[in-house]
Amino acid sequence: MSPIVEVDAVCKRFGAVNVLEGVSFQVRAGSVVAIIGRSGSGKSTALRCINGLETIDSGRIRVCEQELTSPRLDLNRLHRDVGIVFQSYNLFPHLTAEENVMLAPRLVLKLAGGEQRDLAARVLSQVGLADKAKAYPSQLSGGQQQRVAIARSLAMKPSLMLFDEITSALDPELTGEVLKVIEGLARDGMSMILVTHEMAFARKVADHLIFMHRGKVWEEGPAAVLDAPQTDELRQFLGNGL
């Protein structure tokens, strides 16, 4: 079976800054890949390129059987296959948790009212928030908002989920509840890429780790690479106690 994500020699420039300099990696279907690295190493940009939020200058990206550099790329179809959760949640503030979750299934998947509500109830209970369906985002804690954002993505039944530093904006005591949800998804066999600063969590949940440095994949391998770093940069990164 071909990988669900293939990134091949991707370069990306913002003005004069080379953010990605020939990044290549693959993600097998059903596996969890964690991307780690310092701020500015290009890890979030790499993630955003995978669902077409950023265009690339050269190289090739193939996601869920779609060529991102193809002129015939259907971004809407790509977004149906790939869910993303952001650091800043980006819930719709004028809608309740349930309405946030139901919006895309209603408009894009054209589900009927009853199906929408069943689906919302299912994904909200999957993230442990069945009792918060009627709450507005402003009435929820950061951790709860982030879990609603995950539920909102899951409702579209994506084949791949991207997580962009989703616990970075949370208080330490709230990160646990969000990470638990991701662990659950990993157990269910969801293909995922997480950009994260939670090293212990990455080690625990990821099948494959990618250490990015200066816009390149500097080191990669199973979680064990963290125990025996091959490069000084990764050693320093780990040594800094994060």
Partner: protein, 216 residues
Amino acid sequence: MISLTPEQLLFLLRGFGWTIALSLLAFAGGGALGFVLALARVYAARPVRTVVMLYIKLIQGTPLLILLFLTYFGLPALGLVVEPLPAAALGLSVYVSAYLGEIWRGCLEAVPRTQEEAAACLALNWRQRLIHVILPQAMKIATPPTVGFMVQIVKNTSLASAIGFVEMVRAGQMINNATFRPFIVFVLIAGLYFALCYPLSVWSRRLEGKFDVAHR
């Protein structure tokens, strides 16, 4: 009051009615055009954005009185004879569109970019993103300045008296010409304008509170 005959009072009230009607026409016409201008300013291709921006600058830099003269005296010169009401409604609509277009552009842009990004990542198309994600939030931001500007529209309709449209001020001038009681006539008119504008600002404040429920 005592010094005005019932006929004169009725005439003034009819003028009051026309002031309301003209305000509504100006708001409807200017709002429809202004909405298109705001969308074009934010989402259209660059050349279109530039043209719209020039239109807005041009209109905002022109006195409303000149716009009314242009529609009432200028259009007939081009072979298009218009009655005072349509001329006033057209001139005011053009004027209002430039201001509402700019106010609403700001409101559209005040909705964080990340909201549209999140909606796009859920596979919503542009129209769906606009209707279900951007506009509900932009409308909340737009309510106070829009209703505030409606007060300006109501007061600016008085300029239509200059092209012979008998709204409240023109009616007052005609009554004054007959009665020579300027003080009572124009205080009465000021009171009627206030009666129209004050509820608008109260309504604006109430709407703000209502929309704000989602953000408490």
